[in-house]
């Protein structure tokens, strides 16, 4: 039955996938291509349809339309147990009555692998997730991070076409999460495993993915590499959801290579670095906090905005500065603490907001 040997796994394609709950469209006409070996993240707020999509791919929820293919094999009419998908649940769902080795070997056992081959594969994947000594333990005797690695090994061991990860890091504490993020990515690369990862945490999505699929209200807002999503959000939703953008209302007055935005209620036009709008359109100018330059009132460049500091929050490596600009509203800046050591809340400053990204309003 070993029809799907481990190794470079399948590409995945979703075409016009649809899911209704009564009259509510949870997933509307979703199409997505994932290359073999790629790590793609479905990112979005809760209720955006990302988990529903994952469950439809796994076969745990019937879909109402569209088709799903792994390679050229059509799977959406197959039951879950014949799709050859590795699934890692948020709570891991490790079988509590089985040992770590039995958990990892479950998929092999279901595929009728001979005992010796099963054992070799279990050992291989125990080594991959660095749990060699714990084969005989029960899940209840493991830490959260160890359980998570067992769940990953279990999902990989039988050589699935695709691995699905459903918020697998949300039950770990912050420090562990960072380590597991790196581990998980390393394991995925080593296994060259096509992976779909679902999360609402943009930091995870940006740090781990080859590509990020940003979803909202059952639809794809934007697909792109993490850097692209971060620096050039395609829509207002993307700009608001990813990073703590400053969104400034304005009108696009110049397009092309050097776009300029006239700020509403102000007599200035700011230079932007990129634009997703047409000239004359009302737009948002998105400026990342780390792009905002703070200077004392006398030294400000000509196109800077006058503002008053309202709060300064020390974050270790950076200082988060909040300022109120008359006519624009609250703005946030992030900079090395040394740069703003002289400033205090209440001081008048100039904020340089150049180099932002423009999205349609």
């Amino acid at each position: 039955m070993d029809a799907h040997p481990p190794g470079p796994s399948q590409s995945v394609s979703l075409r016009h996938v649809l899911k209704k709950f009564g009259s509510f469209l949870a997933v509307r006409d979703l199409s997505l291509e994932v290359a073999a070996g790629e790590f793609v993240t479905l990112l979005g707020p809760s209720g955006c349809g990302k988990t529903t999509t994952l469950r439809m791919i796994a076969g745990l929820m019937p879909q109402d339309g569209g088709e799903i293919r792994f390679g050229d094999r059509r799977v959406d009419l197959l039951p879950a147990n014949r799709r050859n998908v590795g699934l890692v649940f948020q709570n891991y769902a490790l079988f509590p009555h089985m040992t770590v080795a039995e958990n990892i070997g479950f998929g092999l056992r279901m595929r009728g692998w001979p005992k010796a081959k099963q054992q070799a594969q279990i050992d291989r994947y125990l080594a991959l997730v660095r749990l060699e000594g714990l084969a005989g333990r029960k899940p209840g005797q493991l830490s959260g991070g160890q359980q998570q690695r067992v769940a990953v090994a279990r999902a990989l061991a039988f050589g699935p076409d695709l691995v699905l990860l459903d918020e697998p890091l949300s039950n770990l504490d912050a420090k562990l999460r960072e380590q597991v993020r790196i581990d998980l990515r390393a394991i995925q690369r080593e296994a060259r495993q096509t992976t779909l990862f679902v999360t609402h945490d943009q930091v995870e999505a940006l740090a781990m993915s080859d590509r990020v699929v940003l979803m909202n209200q059952g639809e794809i807002e934007q697909i792109g590499a993490p850097q692209e999503l971060y620096t050039r959000p395609a829509t207002e939703f993307a700009a608001r959801f990813i990073g703590a953008n400053n969104l400034i209302a304005g009108q696009l007055v110049e397009g092309g290579e050097a776009p300029r935005v006239a700020i509403e209620g102000q007599d200035i036009a700011l230079r932007a670095s990129s634009s997703a709008g047409a000239v004359g359109q009302t737009v948002w100018l998105c400026v990342r906090p780390e792009q905002v330059k703070i200077s004392a009132i006398a030294e400000g460049p000509p196109d800077a905005v006058a503002a008053r500091l309202t709060d300064m929050i020390f974050q270790g490596g950076t200082m988060l500065v909040e300022a109120a600009a008359p006519g624009i509203g609250k703005l946030r800046a992030e900079c090395p603490p040394a740069e703003v050591a002289q400033l205090r809340p209440g001081d008048a400053v100039m904020l340089s907001l150049d180099g932002g990204h423009v999205v349609a309003r």
Partner: protein
């Protein structure tokens, strides 16, 4: 193409349903055969004349026009309601203690639990050993101590039966009330006390209203159990039957009036099911609050 897919998906869902329906089928079938069908048959037969096999309501009319039947039914219901009320009042303080003090639970739980694991017959035997007019331990003690001039002849009469029912009923009441009161947050009562209520007032204004579902559930359970009890009423029977179950059984077994017995059984079950349903309705009202 689209149509075929839709049909396939629907077929998959139908197969799923079929699989799970097959899982429930044996339970459903057995219940229908050994539960629903006999009850339905009994109901039907209670409306059929035993001799002429014609439809008739005469067994119901006969029952309710017989003063013997109605009187016995009334004494039964009075007995059941009385026992339920007394058992709850008597059991409530104990249940409160068990719910609030874990040492009491650990210590007294066997005393509360073991009696529930006994057949009523054994309880009946115990009552006879305790209360029998000449040989009963209690009677002998009371006479020996000079508290009573002559032994009490209460066992084979309604007080004896009430005591025997009460024994099991108190145990049931304590069990259920303890479970419900344990679910009531003790901090609520503490809050009432800190606001100036006395402990007793706190109990009656805060804990008891929240524990009311337990009172209702225990009441309904005891009421129906006593209404349809058979072993105790026969074991401790006096000259006049107080309990309706004896009337029904006599019609069925001795007087060879099965259809009359069915009609009376239907009357009794309507009362019992109504009590349970009433409790359920009140409980769901509580649940919604």
């Amino acid at each position: 193409m689209e149509l075929a897919e839709g049909a396939l998906r629907r077929r998959r869902r139908r197969q799923d349903l079929l699989f799970f329906r097959l899982c429930t089928a044996p339970a459903l079938l057995l219940t229908l055969l050994v539960g629903i069908a006999p009850l339905a048959l009994m109901l039907v037969q209670s409306f059929i004349d035993q001799d002429s096999e014609a439809w008739t309501a005469r067994y119901y009319v006969d029952s309710f026009t017989s003063s013997f039947f109605t009187r016995t039914l009334m004494t039964t219901l009075a007995m059941a309601a009385g026992v339920a009320a007394c058992a709850i009042v008597i059991g409530l303080p104990m249940a409160y203690l068990l719910a609030r003090r874990s040492w009491a639970r650990n210590l007294l739980m066997p005393v509360i639990t073991v009696p529930r694991m006994l057949p009523f017959v054994v309880v009946g035997y115990a009552m006879i050993l305790l209360l029998a007019p000449m040989t009963g331990v209690l009677n002998k003690l009371l006479v020996d101590w000079g508290i009573l001039a002559a032994p009490l002849f209460i066992l084979f009469d309604w007080p004896g039966q009430a005591l025997a029912f009460g024994y099991s009923a108190i145990v049931v009441a304590i069990g259920i009330l303890t479970g419900v009161l344990m679910a009531v947050d003790p901090q609520l009562e503490d809050a009432a006390v800190s606001l100036g209520a006395s402990r007793l007032r706190g109990f009656f204004t805060v804990t008891l209203p929240l524990g009311m579902p337990g009172v209702i559930a225990a009441g309904a359970l005891i009421f129906t159990a006593v209404t349809t009890a058979y072993s105790i009423p026969v074991m401790l029977a006096g000259r006049v039957p107080y309990m309706i179950s004896i009337v029904v059984a006599t019609n069925l077994l001795t007087l060879e009036q099965p259809h009359l017995a069915y009609a009376q059984a239907v009357v009794v079950s309507v009362i019992a099911v109504a009590a349970t349903a009433f409790a359920q309705i009140v409980l769901s009202r509580y649940g919604r609050q």
